[in-house]
């Protein structure tokens, strides 16, 4: 009745139908019942399709299992269907079919999705049932109008579009489902020709196709076709069936059009087709095998991979035959059994190319298709892809990325991408970062590289950004931090995924060094050419085996003189024929042949110049092969140095040398030539005989003839001379062989320098016998040293000290070397006048003597040993006996004389002072006496009353006596002072009680003290006795007490006498003004009185006498004083 094509491989679905059959039926029943109840139709009897459904499902599964491409709807169902139509409502039948379809898919797909093929198949199967039911329905409706109401109901609820047409094809009626497709109101659709109905509007052809179908149906045909329908907004597919209904007259009165929406089916179909095409075109392998692994299908890629013929039958090639033997074994042994259990296996298999035998690793996924029963008629699907390809492409991609990363990071080129019109650095490689000295990411290039402003770089970037055209810029100078660099730039636009320019990329190569090197090479080459052209050394280039002059500088053409002689471009032997016969030509040719450079020194060559005929010149000739880029010899470079002058000069020097030797032989002096190490290279006859060399004896080292004491000195002089290369002079003692005695020689040496290099090559030494002078000089030196006074010998005019006597040297403490000039004297010889004022150098006696002023001068030399007052004397010693004129300068130490003179002066001054004081003191009593006598005389001479009252007379006598006494005491004092000075003070010692003596003196002076109002207090221990001169000790006491009264400012005077061990101690103290510190020692000196003290009479001898007397007895006298608090004189006298 109805057929459906079933694709192969549907067995699994078939088994699923079988397995789920009961479940499907149960669900269907539940839902069909619920559905009908839900609509409130209140069915009480059983479901219409229930009796036939099990059989239908069996038939369905059977068809699927048999893999039949075309299945007949089971004939066994037909009676059941008829019975159904007769007994049941057809509307219910249609609804129940619809429910079956839903339940069927729900149940089957609950566990796993159905293959699309199977879905398609199931759709068609069920749809067949629905169509069949619909057709039955329409037929019944036509004959049994009683069923119209239920029909109406069925039509409304069926998953069908149902349209009824009249015999002309106009629309009589349509169910709601049909009208809902386009949403057009029923009134508009009714009455229209079917082909003008709204649901054909989606496809223009559809209306025409509908018209054809209607016409065919009017003609009595059953028509069925799939057509586009739907609204303009939604394009759908429908399976349309046109069925003419014939009335009793056999005429077509009505046409029933039923349509099932098959859009889903179509989509599935399309998807399947698409998949199949994908499989065919896929680069992966797809294959299907039968149960024995014989290949049924292999897609194009699979055929290529495995080396199978590109098209045509596969002749049931076995999969295992395509595997490498090892994997074939594995496949048979394990993989097949695994597949039997798990339906699917994934893993790697190694195939072998059918044609090339090459191993191919494939990642395979194998599905078992078909029945669950193991090894039943199963088939297998292979999906595999070439691992090599994958691995290769993965690796290539990774490698590419790594390479790129490496290139970017390590490239010495500058690589960067810049974003946007501001050229903001997006990525920048390390080389660029180093150049910028900063990581510029996120910064505009104008900010990151401000130095480049004005170099045109930014404009270049702008241009590329604007135009998108890649720009190359070569040797573009761009200032970069610290320098100006040259760069080759490639700047390209970068585009985003939509192709819009969103940035630029920079690839820059720093070619600064290259450019610089090239520039410098160019300039160097230019300079070299210029240099050769202007080089003073004659140079030429001879080219080719014929030695043709290719280049000759000015110096060269000048050497070979004639201005009119053309040599360039000519062969050597033609241009310089005078050389043609000479060996030079042969030499040059040899260099050309062998490539060995040649250097010839002082080669005599004939040179013809200015037509004067050839003269012999000496030249140094350098011949050097000239090679081209490939290293082949293409010529010879000749450099010529004319050394004629040098050769001639050397010949002359050799003659000079011979003359010198001759002269040296006859000179009565030692003549040596010494090598730079002092070795004797040559000596003259004088030296040979002096040191006892025979004619054949080898030269002896001259140093062996030295006085051993001088060896060190000579070594030093020689070392200094050779170090500095300066002449030397020394006096040495050399041993004479004939009598084994040392004789003095004055030896002078001069370096002889190498004329070219300037280095000292040897030394010429001459030594003169000065033994006689030396002896004489030693005698005179000894004489000078014997002088008791220091003596200096100076160079006239300069004052440089040449020699000094032993005494002079000692006075200098041997600190001053010979040779010092006046400029150093102020520090070495501090000279002052007598008052220690430094003398200017011009006033130095030595300086004056050196400049010719030999007059004696007095000065003071502050020598290391002390102050020396001296008187200088000087004289000129004329040049004699090889000695130059010298100034002899001698000083006489007059320090002792000066000291004596000073003492004398002081003594004289002291005496004058004494006389002055003495006369003053003497005048006082004398004045008294004179007044007394004159007064008396006037009284008597004038005849006046001469009588004199006794008290007046007494006063007169006492006054006279006192004055005389005073005179006597003064004279005694003076005598004492004089005796002390001459050490003649006499002492008459006797036992004395000091305390008693103190009392006596105090008593004697008490009237004077009372007259001054000065109290005297005496504190003394009972008794102690010393052995002294009574008068002298009395003098001491009297003086001290008198002083206290006189200078004590009328303060109380205190006297203490006590014993301290073996000493008697006497203290006399006042509380007067005291004695200033600076006067405390002076008060004990002779004629010393306190300053500003002319008002107080006295000789100033008192304390001086006290000190002398106390000193005589081994005692001491001292004074303690605090200014303002008085003075305390302390006398300490030993008792024995």
């Amino acid at each position: 009745m109805t057929t459906a094509s079933i694709p192969s491989g549907a067995t699994r679905t078939a088994s699923a139908v079988w397995n789920a059959k009961d479940q499907i039926l149960r669900r269907w029943e539940e839902r069909a019942r619920g559905g009908t109840l839900g609509r409130g139709r209140g069915r009480k009897d059983g479901l219409s399709l229930a009796p036939i459904l099990p059989a239908f499902l069996d038939a369905l599964a059977e068809g699927l299992a048999d893999e039949k491409t075309e299945v007949h709807f089971p004939p066994s169902l037909e009676p059941a269907v008829r019975a159904l139509v007769a007994s049941a409502s057809l509307a219910d039948v249609v609804i129940e079919w619809g429910i079956l379809r839903e339940v069927l898919f729900d149940t089957l797909e609950a566990e796993r999705p159905l293959l699309s093929d199977h879905r398609l198949l199931l759709h068609r199967m069920v749809d067949e049932g629905i169509h069949a039911a619909a057709m039955e329905l329409s037929r019944v409706r036509a004959v049994e109008t009683a069923e119209a109401r239920r029909l109406q109901h069925a039509v409304e609820y069926a998953p069908l579009l149902v349209v009824l047409l009249d015999a002309t094809g106009r629309i009589l009626d349509a169910n709601d489902r049909a009208l809902r497709v386009t949403g057009t109101p029923r009134t508009e659709e009714l009455g229209r020709p079917f082909w003008d109905a709204s649901w054909w509007s989606a496809q223009p052809d559809a209306a025409a196709r509908a018209k054809e179908a209607v016409e065919a149906a009017v003609g009595g045909e059953n028509v069925r076709y799939d057509a586009h329908y739907g609204s303009p907004s939604e394009d759908r597919w429908g399976d349309f069936s046109f069925r003419p209904i014939v009335d009793a007259d056999g005429r077509v009165c009505t046409i029933v059009v039923s349509g099932i929406d098959v859009t889903d089916r179509y989509r599935l179909l399309e998807e399947t087709r698409l998949r199949a095409s994908e499989i065919r075109r896929s680069e992966s392998l797809f294959a299907v095998t039968d149960g024995e692994m014989g290949l049924c299908f292999v897609n194009d890629a699979g055929r290529r991979l495995l080396g199978l013929p590109p098209s045509g039958p596969l002749e049931r090639t076995s999969v295992t035959s395509l595997l490498e033997p090892e994997d074939a074994e594995r496949f048979r042994a394990t993989i097949l059994s695994m597949l039997a259990q798990s339906e699917q296996w994934e893993g790697e298999l190694r195939f072998r190319h059918r044609e090339t035998g090459q191993a191919i690793d494939l990642q395979c996924c194998i599905f078992r298709l078909g029945n669950t029963a193991a090894h039943a008629a199963a088939s297998y699907a292979f999906v595999a892809h070439d691992l090599r390809e994958e691995r290769r492409s993965d690796y290539a991609l990774a490698l590419e990325r790594r390479n790129f990363e490496h290139l970017f990071q390590e490239s010495p080129h500058l690589v960067a991408t810049l974003r946007g019109p501001e050229h903001v650095f997006e990525s920048v490689n390390p080389a660029y970062v180093r150049l910028l000295r900063r990581d510029a990411r996120g910064i505009s290039i104008r900010v990151a590289q401000p130095e480049a402003e004005g170099s045109g770089l930014f404009e270049l970037l702008d241009r590329v950004y604007a135009s998108g055209v890649t720009v190359r810029s070569r040797e573009h100078p761009v200032p970069v931090p610290g320098r100006v660099g040259y760069f080759n730039f490639i700047v390209a636009a970068r585009r985003d995924w939509e192709g819009r320019i969103d940035g630029v990329t920079i690839l820059a190569t720093d070619i600064t060094e290259v450019v610089r090197a090239r520039k410098s090479a160019e300039s160097a080459q230019r300079e070299l050419r210029d240099l050769i052209a202007q080089f003073p050394t004659p140079m030429c280039l001879l080219q080719g085996p014929e030695l043709v002059f290719a280049l000759a500088n000015d110096a060269f053409t000048t050497l070979w003189g004639d201005e009119d002689r053309v040599i360039l471009g000519r062969r050597l032997k033609d241009a310089l024929p005078e050389l043609a016969s000479a060996a030079e030509l042969e030499l040059a040719q040899r260099v050309y042949r062998t490539g060995e450079p040649l250097r010839l020194l002082e080669l005599p060559v004939p040179i013809r110049r200015g037509g004067h005929g050839a003269s012999t010149h000496y030249v140094n000739l350098l011949l050097h092969p000239k090679r081209n880029d490939r290293g082949e010899i293409e010529g010879v470079i000749a450099a010529v140095t004319d050394v004629t002058e040098h050769v001639v000069a050397r010949q002359a020097a050799q003659e000079n040398e011979a003359r010198f030797r001759l002269l040296a032989e006859v000179l009565p002096q030692v003549i040596w030539e010494l090598g730079t190490n002092g070795e004797l290279v040559y000596c003259n006859a004088y030296w040979s005989s002096f040191c006892g060399l025979g004619d054949d004896d080898a030269l002896k080292d001259w140093r062996q003839s030295l006085d051993p004491e001088q060896t060190e000195m000579v070594r030093r002089v020689w070392t200094d001379a050779t170090k500095t290369g300066t002449p030397f002079e020394m006096e040495v003692r050399l041993k004479r062989a004939s009598d084994e005695t040392f004789r003095w020689f004055l030896m002078r040496g001069r370096p002889v320098r190498d004329r070219r290099r300037g280095a000292v090559s040897k030394w010429l030494v001459a030594a003169m016998d000065i033994h006689a002078q030396k002896e004489a000089s030693a005698w005179s030196d000894a004489m000078v040293d014997a002088l008791p006074n220091p003596l200096w010998l100076m160079e006239p005019g300069t004052g440089r000290i040449l020699y000094k006597s032993r005494v002079a040297s000692e006075l200098e403490a041997h600190r001053v070397p010979n040779g010092v000039g006046p400029e150093q004297w102020p520090t070495l010889y501090p000279i002052t006048d007598e008052d220690d004022r430094p003398l200017p150098i011009e006033e130095y006696p030595g300086y004056r003597a050196a400049h010719g002023d030999f007059s004696p001068r007095a000065a003071v030399w502050h020598a290391p040993g002390g102050r020396i007052s001296f008187l200088s004397s000087a004289a000129m010693i004329p040049a004699r006996f090889g000695r130059p004129a010298t100034v002899a300068f001698m000083i006489q130490d007059v320090s002792a004389l000066t000291r004596t003179e000073r003492a004398l002066r002081a003594a004289l001054a002291s005496r004058d002072q004494f006389l002055s004081i003495a006369s003053h003191e003497l005048k006082t009593p004398l004045t008294s006496l004179r007044l007394l006598t004159q007064s008396a005389k006037r009284r008597f001479s004038a005849g006046r009353d001469t009588s004199l009252a006794p008290e007046r007379l007494m006063a007169f006598v006492e006054q006279t006596d006192r004055s005389v006494h005073r005179l006597m005491r003064l004279v005694d004092d003076m005598l004492d002072a004089s005796r002390i000075a001459s050490g003649q003070l006499s002492y008459h010692s006797e036992p004395i009680d000091l305390g008693a003596l103190v009392d006596e003196v105090v008593e004697r002076l008490r009237p004077q003290a009372e007259g001054l109002g000065v109290p005297i207090r005496v504190e003394r221990s009972d008794f102690f006795e010393g052995f002294w001169d009574r008068l002298r000790i009395d003098q001491v006491l009297t003086n001290l007490l008198t002083n206290a009264l006189r200078y004590g400012g009328r303060s109380p005077v205190e006297i203490v006498v006590r014993r301290d061990g073996n000493d008697a101690v006497l203290e006399v103290a006042d509380r007067g003004p005291g004695i200033p510190l600076e006067c405390r020692e002076r008060v004990f000196e002779r004629f010393e009185r306190l300053p500003n003290d002319e008002s107080v009479p006295g000789l100033g001898l008192g304390l001086f006498l006290c000190r002398e007397i106390v000193g005589h007895y081994g005692g001491r006298i001292a004074v303690e004083s605090e200014p303002g608090l008085g003075a305390r004189f302390i006398v300490r006298l030993p008792l024995r």
Partner: protein, 142 residues
């Protein structure tokens, strides 16, 4: 002062300033022997005190140079510095000294100088020109 000078019968005294007691006493005795009136002081300071205590200024001052407490030089300086207007500075002064001529040089204005030991005849002659005698010589004052 002028009134004093206008009274010829009233002779004015001689002020003897001398520290040496013997010389002072002998001088006073000798001058009074000669009929002069004398006042004595043993140094400059005392002399100033004496001058201040007198009703009538002396006609002459005999001044020693070297004295304790206040010497003649200082006395003269005070006289000329502080007593210009009370007539003290106008009193003639004879300076005497045992020192050399140098010590007597460069003194403030004086009537003359004597070097010790001085000649009494000369002294009397000079004193007479300034201080006329009130009693004949040889008559000692009571």
């Amino acid at each position: 002062m002028e009134s004093a000078a206008a009274m010829p019968t009233e002779s004015r005294a001689i002020l003897v300033v001398e520290d040496d007691r013997d010389i002072r006493e002998i001088l006073v005795a000798a001058l009074e022997d000669e009929g002069f009136r004398t006042i004595a002081a043993n140094n400059g300071r005392r002399a100033l005190d004496v001058l201040g205590s007198l009703r009538e200024l002396p006609g002459l001052i005999l001044l020693d140079l070297m004295m304790e407490e206040m010497g003649g030089r200082e006395f003269l300086e005070i006289l000329h510095r502080e007593h210009r207007h009370d007539g003290w500075a106008e009193i003639p002064v004879l300076v005497s000294s045992a020192a050399g001529a140098g010590a007597l040089a460069a003194l403030p204005k004086t009537a003359g100088t004597f070097r010790k030991p001085f000649d009494l005849d000369e002294l009397v002659r000079v004193a007479e020109t300034y201080c006329p005698r009130i009693t004949p010589p040889g008559v000692l004052p009571s």
